[in-house]
């Protein structure tokens, strides 16, 4: 009995002081008991973007969590007094520090999420937005420009303004506004270009959250346009081999010397398109001819690489068509498909090796792929031949059987006739 009483007391104390998540998350109760909210609801003065799903509200951090004051008091003057720590609405310049007073405090933030980063304010002040805000430019983005003020949700929440799929629209709200951006003299068509790019199509059309959004290249809190030296590192954070091959190549060294943007010079930036073999060589679509003359050494290498790639691509396409025919004819195409997969892999690797600008390395890989594709073609042809052999054989066998049936028919008729004649003679 004593034990049960002790357990009840301990549980009560636990609920009172520890306040587990199921109590913290009771937003509806909070909206009724918190005097800031109930009064502002009554006065119809809630912020326009107020959302009860805001992460702070969900974690029991009501208005006073950010704006200070005493939500327990039903006296407006007392609740919003300086003595109660009320700070009201921060000015634009104060916002980073306003959010940072909690978000830069590792001790405080750890109680909510042990792995949460606390360097956002530091990063922000090193970003172009932060640097300009410090200088007094109040048009630049602050925390609330991207995260909103009262509808803040974790980046993993699809309703959040900073959820991967929503980031381009969030940035575009300012960066796509020609009038707003006029004084900064930077383009405002980044979103339009991005939406048409290979990254944009994957992210916005195919809803692939693995595809990069603005912040994946520019950073988020520390957002900056990537510089000349960092551009290949930005792209290389995902396209690792391409960056490594390029950095180790003579071209990479030459680009560095000429202070050219690595990847961007050939692939563009926001409008980066899916690559094609036409990009290399000296034809109209080839980017090599932007710098190389048709008769120089570079053009010669580019032409050779283009020739190698198109040879493998054409052979692969031919093998693929044969495999489709084998499949269509209902023959065994399993091994052919595996061979094709290997040929395609060699083609992909050869295309990546373009970034070495070494035609020998590309040729070696192309030869490997050609071996697989040729083998696939040979096997496909054997299957197709087998199919026609079976058809011819089946035709011949059907003919013989038909012939036998006809012969049998005449034989039976002849026997019947003979029997009839015998009976007549009798």
């Amino acid at each position: 009995m004593k034990n049960i009483f002790l357990r009840i007391v301990v549980s009560g104390l636990f609920l009172l002081f520890i306040k587990p998540d199921f109590i913290l998350g009771d937003v509806e109760t909070l909206m009724k008991t918190d005097n800031c909210i109930s009064c502002h609801i009554e006065e119809e003065e809630l912020p326009e973007d107020f959302n009860k799903h805001d992460i702070h509200m969900q974690k029991d951090l009501s208005c006073s969590g950010c704006h200070g004051g005493n939500p327990a008091s039903d006296d407006m003057d007392e609740a919003m007094s300086i003595e109660a720590g009320f700070v009201g609405v921060p000015s634009k310049k104060e916002i980073p520090e306003f959010c940072g007073k909690c978000h830069s405090d590792i001790g405080f933030m750890r109680s909510y999420q042990p792995r949460i980063p606390t360097d956002q304010t530091d990063q922000y002040y090193k970003s172009l937005h932060g640097l300009r805000l410090k200088k007094g430019d109040t048009k630049v983005a602050d925390c609330s420009s991207c995260h909103t003020a009262h509808s803040i949700m974790p980046a993993s929440d699809p309703r959040s303004s900073v959820y991967a799929l929503n980031v381009p629209e969030t940035c575009n709200a300012c960066h796509g506004d020609e009038e707003y951006m006029q004084e900064y003299e930077i383009p405002t068509d980044q979103f339009t270009k991005f939406a048409k790019s290979v990254h944009g199509v994957a992210l916005l059309k195919e809803q692939d959250t693995g595809a990069p959004a603005c912040n994946d290249c520019h950073g988020n809190h520390g957002a900056m346009p990537p510089g000349i030296s960092s551009i290949s590192h930005v792209c290389g954070s995902c396209h690792v081999n391409n960056m490594q091959y390029f950095s180790d190549s003579r071209m990479g060294a030459a680009f560095k010397k000429e202070k050219l943007h690595g990847c961007e010079e050939c692939h563009g930036n926001h409008e980066v398109q899916k690559t094609s073999d036409e990009m290399i060589g000296v034809d109209d679509k080839a980017v090599c001819s932007n710098c190389h003359e048709p008769d120089d050494k570079g053009a010669e290498v580019a032409t050779e690489i283009h020739k190698q790639l198109t040879t493998l691509a054409t052979t692969y396409e031919k093998a693929l068509a044969q495999q489709k025919e084998v499949e269509h004819k209902g023959m065994d195409d399993l091994d052919i498909e595996f061979l094709l997969q290997e040929a395609k892999q060699s083609l992909t690797q050869a295309r990546t090796l373009v970034h070495t600008f070494d035609s020998v390395k590309v040729t070696v890989k192309v030869k490997e792929g050609l071996g697989k594709a040729d083998l696939a073609i040979k096997e496909a042809q054997a299957q197709i031949e087998d199919y026609y052999f079976r058809r011819r054989g089946f035709g011949a066998a059907t003919f013989i059987i038909t012939l036998l049936i006809v012969a049998l028919f005449f034989k039976i008729r002849e026997i019947d006739q003979r029997n009839l004649n015998k009976e007549d003679r009798r």
Binding site: G210, L334, F338, K344, Q349, G393, A397, T398, I400, I401
Partner: protein
């Protein structure tokens, strides 16, 4: 003509007739027999005896039309994932030095849970179930939840 000689001739003729019929119908049946075709929907495959598969190694097995990478970890635990890289469909391989799954095409890296950890792969690799039945490794499709 004696009975034994007649019997012998009948036997010879009968045998000959049977042979003739066989030579006619054998090709017919062989043409009628369908050619080997790959199984359309594979749910599980045998991947060989457990003892033949060394620790800290991986191998690619054919799971119907799809390649699957089977890995035996240092601990002896077996895991299997789709071997098709989620970036551009290259075939991944096991790296025994870093103990990771690696795609040579663009240096995409997955951990031993199949999660994409670096490089361009946008998604994790699909996982397959691995069971051992009578010392034989059986790789099968994961059961769908619900």
């Amino acid at each position: 003509m004696s009975t034994s000689r007649r019997k012998f001739i009948n036997l010879l003729l009968g045998g000959g007739l049977l042979g003739w019929l066989g030579s006619i119908f054998y090709p017919v049946f062989s043409y009628l027999k369908p050619p080997p075709v790959p199984e359309a929907n594979v749910n599980s495959v045998k991947a060989g005896p457990v003892a033949d598969f060394p620790k800290n190694s991986g191998k690619i097995i054919k799971f119907g039309r799809k390649p699957v990478i089977l890995i035996k970890m240092d601990t002896g635990e077996l895991r299997a994932f789709s071997a098709t890289c989620t970036h551009l469909d290259c075939i991944v391989q096991y790296r025994d030095d870093s103990k990771q799954i690696w795609c040579a095409c663009h240096n995409g890296i997955y951990d031993l849970r199949g999660r994409n950890v670096s490089g361009p792969p946008p998604r994790p690799l699909d996982e397959f179930a691995v069971n051992i039945v009578n010392d034989e490794i059986i790789v099968s499709k994961m059961k769908e939840i619900g």
